[in-house]
Point group: C2
């Protein structure tokens, strides 16, 4: 069982990595968040290892300028697993353009090992 | 990519297994749903292999008589992953006593391999 504080810090840093568009800073966050042999998969992309995941996030940022991810609710975790949801919005707005639901296994030192992301288009208000 | 129809059938059979209290029928559903080397973990229990998962579900049923699981929304899947949510309610009622969020990897033949369950107590209406 990983401490809630560690999980919260990791998830915060994970979303910060997706939002960090200075490459060196993003790479440092990726190293903090992901296990060296981590994998990531969502409907649009995959990445393997911290380097591969960093490159994947960088490519996603290039495709989607001007957006940011915000944590939606506290992460839920038990044993070595965590799930959390996030909202993608145009930076600085409150418009939810996409909802994400991410699941991951967590290493003993609190990093993410295998991340599976799902996305959902919000219903029109 | 597993066909949506296969995923839907598997998830329906998965919830049917949790609801089936005749042991032989439950065991048949478990064999249909889970890979032979499947694993299951949620905050309260774990099971390994179809036999272990069947015994785990049987024990959970003994602990929680008179309840049933109902799928909440269509399963969401991509690549070899699926997520879905369910409601636990006293059988035959509309009262949502517990909300579950299950994530699983899926084998090429459409069975569940590694299932991770999360549960959430609904907010008071």
């Amino acid at each position: 069982m990983i401490a809630t504080e560690n999980i919260t810090n990791t998830v915060d840093a994970y979303l910060a990595a997706w939002n960090e568009r200075v490459p060196e800073r993003r790479r440092a966050l990726v190293a903090e968040v992901f296990a060296d042999d981590a994998t990531y998969v969502d409907p649009a992309r995959t990445g393997t290892g911290a380097d591969g995941i960093d490159a994947m996030i960088g490519a996603a940022q290039d495709e989607h300028p001007g957006v940011e991810l915000i944590l939606a609710g506290a992460p839920d975790h038990h044993n070595t697993h965590v799930r959390f949801s996030w909202h993608l919005r145009p930076a600085g707005t409150d418009t939810v353009a996409l909802i994400g639901h991410d699941y991951a296994s967590v290493t003993p030192d609190g990093r993410l090992k295998d991340v599976v992301g799902f996305v959902e288009v919000p219903e029109a208000a």
